[in-house]
Amino acid sequence: MRLNEEEKAMLAGETGPVRQEALRHQVQVGEFFGAEDLVAVSQAHIMADTESLGEAGVEWLESLTKHPGKERVVRIPTITDPRGTDFNKARQLGQTEKMIELERRTVAAFIKLGVTMTDTCINYQTIMAPVFGEHVAFGDTGVVIYSNSICGARSNFEGGPSALAAGLTGRTPRYGYHLEQHRRPTRRFRINWRPQSLNEWGALGGFIGRSSGNYWSVPVLEGVEASPGSDALKHFGAAMASFGSTALFHVVGVTPEAIHARDLKLDALPVEDISRADVLALQGSYRVTDEVDVVVFSAPQLSLMEMRDVAALCDGRKFKIPLLAVTSPQVKPDSDRMGYTEIIEAAGGTVFAGMCFYQSYAREIAETNGWKRLATNSAKMVNILGGYGYTPILASMEECVAAAETGRLA
């Protein structure tokens, strides 16, 4: 790889061993993918829940904090994905002291590295959305696909070690979606119907992701006549990224690199029609039971508008089974201020902030709480939770809230 003088100095250890190791990691990944050089990035976003990190990962982070402050502190705004707990309600989830302590150690280490603990996977709705053409190093697949597709930013999936490396060096290897030639559509899908709910947008995204096949595939969707809005595109993209490892999509007439179909040169791509029945079949494949042990709204964290909608549906109800609504630390105070939290919790639900359900020791809390059959409106989450021993069911927000009252999906 071609390195400039500053990068060579970092790699030589002239700015300390932490940045040296970060750049060495970036060069190894860059050379693996054939990157010619590094590109400057303006923001980094680190996914680092402790279920993924484990004791070994936390110890590795702590080892970085032993170095002098000027050598270990990130150079660009570097923020965090959801944590593995809401410290105020960890006991309610049945998390152990060991889990909570690991979280505390992780937070302490990140703070020493200069990382800003935003604990959110909806930073594009709440913190600082990237702008068109901005090169960033974002973790969380939902954050990357939204930033690339809706904002027109440039990012690959950056796992925790790589996102932290980008924070420390202010760079990332220039390959994949940092390069214009990889951003052109490779698969062409079309609908002649419109999803009616967040779960349907998620299921459509999941269908396209599953069909697209791999990270390097860039789907374009035609037939969406008007923008469905941020929350629908959030679920659409998050599910696509989850089912397909997809990092970028285009929607003709909606997303910034696909405003005009003629600019995309789509004629060479065969059209693949997706019917509503196709998408409902994907959703229905998860409906193996009507009995529900727990209802969860999470993945991605809920926006203020989603909190408003959940609260409106909860108003006046009394729940028979737990309902968990998970949002960001930025949205939670507004949810409190608007009275949404109080309405949800008066019905017997619980609002969590700063965590993500599936990143919160999902297997262990299922065993502790006797949760197996989980209803959610998140297509992303149903794709993930099967591996954790759950029987996840994809349903609308309305159906999920009603199920919390009866223990059954109607």
């Binding site: 484990g54 969380d140 999936f157 796992g159 070690p161 794709n383 591996g387």
Partner: protein
């Protein structure tokens, strides 16, 4: 007796020789594994129930989220990890995770590697030459 050799476009890590587990399916450490038991745990996965420890995984494509980048390192710290991973198509997360953990990885072939190799075969991976060789 040595068998065919396949050339990868992407490679990292050290030379590895081990038995393989092969399937035309995706891979995510979070979605597909019970990492405490060292087994594939997603019921729909073609390697469901199989132990991956010490095996070279030969799979179609990297799937899912960013967690695998940390998880490979964590799996290795508990000495319950695959010897190497071979993909038809890799994503950045698995490559970053392999780099962080020091796990050998090869990806990108002119053939569908999962159709050319069978589970149980013994393989030799040479990242410096970007080769996968079937040994028996």
């Amino acid at each position: 007796m040595n068998g065919p050799v396949y050339i990868a476009r992407h490679a990292m890590g050290k030379m590895v020789e081990a038995e393989c587990l092969c399937a035309n399916d995706g891979f995510s450490a979070r979605y597909d594994l019970n990492r405490l038991e060292g087994k594939f745990s997603r019921p729909a996965h073609k390697l469901f129930g199989e132990s991956y420890h010490g095996k070279i995984l030969v799979l179609d494509t990297a799937k899912g989220g960013v967690a695998s980048a940390w998880m490979l390192y964590e799996m290795k710290s508990r000495n319950l990890f695959p010897a190497a991973i071979v993909f038809n198509s890799v994503n950045p997360i698995l490559a970053q995770g392999a780099a962080h953990a020091g796990i050998t990885m090869l990806a990108g072939f002119d053939v569908n590697i999962t159709e050319k190799i069978s589970s149980g075969a013994r393989l030799r991976l040479d990242p410096s030459g970007k080769t996968v060789q079937v040994l028996d």
